[in-house]
Symmetry: C2
Subunit: 289 residues, 2 copies
């Protein structure tokens, strides 16, 4: 095509993918071009605004390194991550819902036995967590591997802190014969996502806060079941209705029960105030699994 105009350019670009021998790649890129062009037309995007966009993406790329993933923050804060998760995990009734993976998971976190303290000295009030893993028929799922990770009382994940000798408030556990697993950790608090990059600037410019409600991350993997990546959110948190990454689902909000010093089930183990959380995870059986 020798005369590209604002009216024929979308079909011209899509036609250029005709020789692509990966039909899915062709489908995804054709859809991307269609919707990007629709955005440029709908807004009547100016050349100065286009240049701002190029500048924003460049800064986002330069902020990203092996410890910081600014593009995931961007996808999270625009709801793209949660939309992708939600449309890939429309669960059978009663199965625990999934939410965003987030940028703070670590592969090969330390292994713990049930009952251990996974806090590793992280600051925070003690939290005792008691969970079950079951399938959608109510059968216990023994031998499941559970990854747990969370922020501490200062709102930081261990990987955000310089100079730590070992992981904190992070670990893997296994469910026992009754499908149970339990551990001690610290009480998570609400925290802002990192705001010292382009995504923080975007939130500021649009009058949005950067906060996520307090939560603990869980990834539950078991033979024959779909892997579950989710959070449990702390009921009563001020940001449950405005999580900056749109990750809250009502079914994932649970009471973190506060106990006064010297009272309740762990009175002998915790010198001061502590908290308990009970949650039952329900896995869907993998198709053909």
């Amino acid at each position: 095509m020798r005369n590209i105009t604002e009216h024929n350019i979308t079909e011209a670009v899509i036609a250029r993918f005709a020789a692509c021998d990966d039909p899915r790649l062709k489908e995804v890129l054709s859809s991307l071009v269609t919707h990007l062009h629709a955005f440029v037309r709908e807004t009547g995007l100016t050349e100065a605004e286009w240049a701002k966009g190029i500048e924003f993406l460049t800064a986002t790329g330069h902020k990203t390194d092996d410890k910081r993933q600014e593009f995931i923050l961007l996808s999270d804060t625009l709801g793209v991550s949660m939309l992708t998760v939600a449309q890939n995990h429309s669960k059978p009734a009663h199965a625990t819902e999934a939410t965003v993976f987030g940028p703070f998971h670590v592969s090969g976190a330390p292994g713990f036995d049930n009952g251990d303290d996974i806090g590793g000295g992280a600051p925070g009030e003690p939290l005792y967590v008691n969970c079950t893993v079951r399938d959608t028929d109510g059968n216990p799922v023994p031998g499941a591997t559970i990854d747990v990770w969370q922020a501490d009382d200062d709102g930081f994940y261990d990987v955000q802190l310089e100079g730590l000798a070992a992981h904190r408030a992070r670990g893997t556990l296994r469910s026992n014969e009754q499908g149970r697993f339990w551990f001690r950790t610290v009480l998570p608090v609400a925290y802002p996502i990192p705001t010292d990059g382009p995504v923080g600037a975007m939130l500021l410019a649009t009058g949005r806060h950067p906060w996520r409600p307090a939560h603990v991350h869980f990834m539950v993997q078991a033979r024959g079941c779909d892997t579950l990546i989710t959070h449990v959110f702390r009921d009563g948190d001020a940001y449950l209705d405005s999580d900056t990454v749109f990750g809250v689902r009502a079914s994932l909000v649970a009471p973190f029960v506060a106990h006064k010093a010297g009272t309740g089930p762990h009175a002998g183990e915790a010198p001061g105030r502590y908290h308990t959380l009970a949650f039952d995870f329900v896995l869907s059986r993998a198709v053909g699994g």
Copy 2:
């Protein structure tokens, strides 16, 4: 909103921009979110594909530096740049059409007098360029500033080459009292855009070639006129119908006339074969200018 689903998340994200006090930013971001989410839904984007997208953007960011702008290449090859240019420059009849700016312009290029050789030793057969600048009423436009830049016979712009002491095949000129400007340079040839980055990988994976038809870039600025950013393309080039950045407009294709050694208007100045190009630029008067 405490229960985000794949069905309500788009309105939830847009609602979060309610407090943005810049109405245009709010409009642009709301439109972006709407169209990005439509893309994710239409393709049923998987989590693995989402991760590939994050990886692609990260690599694009890391390839970009002060000499290389991979995000502009991406925008160019997806037709986003040309669409933006085209919708912002719907010209009055007879005004010269605009095309993409490209990533190789340099501010403060060396100034030349009419008749000078701006090639600066760049490899290539001689090309003599003779132009006029007029307004849409046919009046000559004297004193216009013209930026010229182009690739050489190897297909490279000077800024792509390491260790050059001075600019080559790049300069600024001024139109004379008759609105004319003229200079000597080298014949541009077709060239591939840089393919050693993520954009090159995308072109390869989709069966697209990376070539642009031979052209010379012009930016023409004159008091009281809209600035014109355009190319003149070499008629007969094999890539005129498949420019990888979608920049060709029929009105910008012109004959680059070949002259045998010792014949034609510049027979005495060029020892071997040489070429001539004549082109008339027509500027639209700025609104209120």
